[in-house]
Point group: C2
Chain length 293, copies 2
């Protein structure tokens, strides 16, 4: 079972299944390991906390540390104790220590993987202002609500940016942020790439979150030719490289394998199955970037 | 696009894609509709709030109402307004009204589906005390932490219950709750059903959450014969019918299709891909049961 999870973990860190006894000793090694871009740990107890904070602060300058630490609850601490004999410690102290050490704390295994992937693949945002784009006002509204929950701002776009976007949309649709290209992007995904480009060019936008149908327009919905959607996805990848701003995609088809989604996944554009998780991960990335500054 | 989501929604409510203008009029109808067991809504704005509270309170006596309401954030409210012209309203007032009306509020589409499924398929728990069982102390600890986050208690099991469980485990493994049957259940899944049974028999346990490898022991891990795992899953379904206590399964193989998982899914045992989501849904079910009492 450990092995099963270990294989998973080794995608993220080269140390494999690191149930840390002396957490900071692993860090010492990983800090300078050229094959490690981000560090993920599951731990049940911490020994030598001061040493940990010291080493972690050095490490974080070079690469992010994400930790899933058990024992927030009494029952969780009990389970940790009976599992590895580790004393989970007062959780408020753990939280404070992690904060001081700039360690990112997550609350489950899915989050651990998501956050690590994003941290090592995406460019770091300069701030916490995000643009949200979708084919539907409903997706937009829910994603904006969740963005706020995870510390992301969704400001009204500069008039100059709105002027670039407005002609692409059906009259009356919102270019303010969230941007609603409902009705036009399905058949003509180039609209998505043009809207993303306008946002990337805007100094007041630090990251872009596309939510909705992208990735399944051609192969699943038959709404446009495959080449059109693939070209759009290629262009989105290019925009990320050019503007060095993170782009996240939440796709209703995020569970599927399509050529378009694979193009995004294999580059610097993470694809999520859940709109909330995409907002959560972008919020974490913004928080990490801000801590690092 | 509306249709795409509408099909999804119609699995949950017979009203289809109900972007509510007069929310309470839909409720009036669904309240007495024999084909509706649970009611799910996505709404952007509410008109006639007093009428809504009145009708919802009547409805909730018969069936649960789950609502995904946009507009928690400024940007979300802006998106809702530009989408349907609905004024989202002060979110604190919306929250208070939903609480008064005993409406369950969720924050994204995945949650909406999860919660509705659980509400119409599982028996209602008598309280909020849950037992957590797994093959690993790590899964146990994380799930216990998340249980607490969502309002579930994970108390130490009665000595009589622990005495039934202890002989099934390797010496020294915890029977206290969370229960750790690591090392024995993989090859002999009957251990899982016996532990669940002991918990179901305990008056101080209101629900059981199994987390870990169940569902993939035979077909994926080749750790036991398929018949053994299928028999266990059938027995778990029987236990739920007999003791009328909810049983939730989080499986590391929750994305897969195995005969065992399908047996659970097609009965009163929901299967989750994410441990946190299983804890969240069980917490919501406990909350709903408590509101209804």
């Amino acid at each position: 079972y450990g092995q099963l999870r270990g294989i998973g973990f080794s995608k993220a860190v080269s140390a494999g299944n690191a149930i840390g006894v002396k957490f900071h000793e692993y860090l010492e090694y990983l800090k300078d390991d050229p094959e490690t871009k981000a560090i993920a740990f599951y731990i049940e107890g911490i020994k030598e906390g001061n040493e940990l904070i010291k080493v972690a602060r050095e490490t974080v300058k070079k690469k992010p540390i994400v930790v899933l630490k058990a024992g927030r609850s009494k029952a969780g601490a009990r389970a940790a104790l009976s599992h590895t004999g580790a004393l989970a410690g007062d959780d408020r102290i753990v939280d404070a220590a992690f904060k001081q050490a700039e360690i990112i704390r997550v609350s489950n295994v899915d989050e651990l993987f998501d956050v690590v992937e994003v941290l090592y693949s995406c460019p770091l945002p300069q701030g916490n202002r995000g643009a949200i784009l979708s084919e539907g006002g409903g997706d937009n509204a829910i994603t904006a609500d969740n963005a706020q929950k995870y510390g992301m701002e969704v400001p009204i776009l500069a008039e100059a940016t709105q002027e670039k976007i407005r002609p692409l949309l059906i009259e009356g649709m919102s270019a303010a942020n969230p941007v609603d290209y409902g009705g036009v992007a399905e058949g003509n995904p180039q609209v998505i790439e043009q809207c993303v480009k306008a946002c990337m060019e805007d100094d007041q936008v630090d990251a872009v979150l596309v939510t909705g149908l992208l990735g399944g327009l051609a192969e699943i919905l038959n709404a446009c030719p495959p080449a059109a959607e693939e070209q759009t996805c290629q262009e989105l990848v290019n925009l990320v490289s050019r503007y060095k701003k993170p782009l996240f995609v939440h796709s209703c088809f995020g569970k599927e394998t399509t050529k378009s989604l694979d193009m995004l996944r294999s580059s610097q554009v993470p694809v999520f199955e859940s709109s909330e998780r995409s907002a959560m991960c972008l919020g974490m990335l913004m928080k990490y970037a801000s801590d690092k500054r």
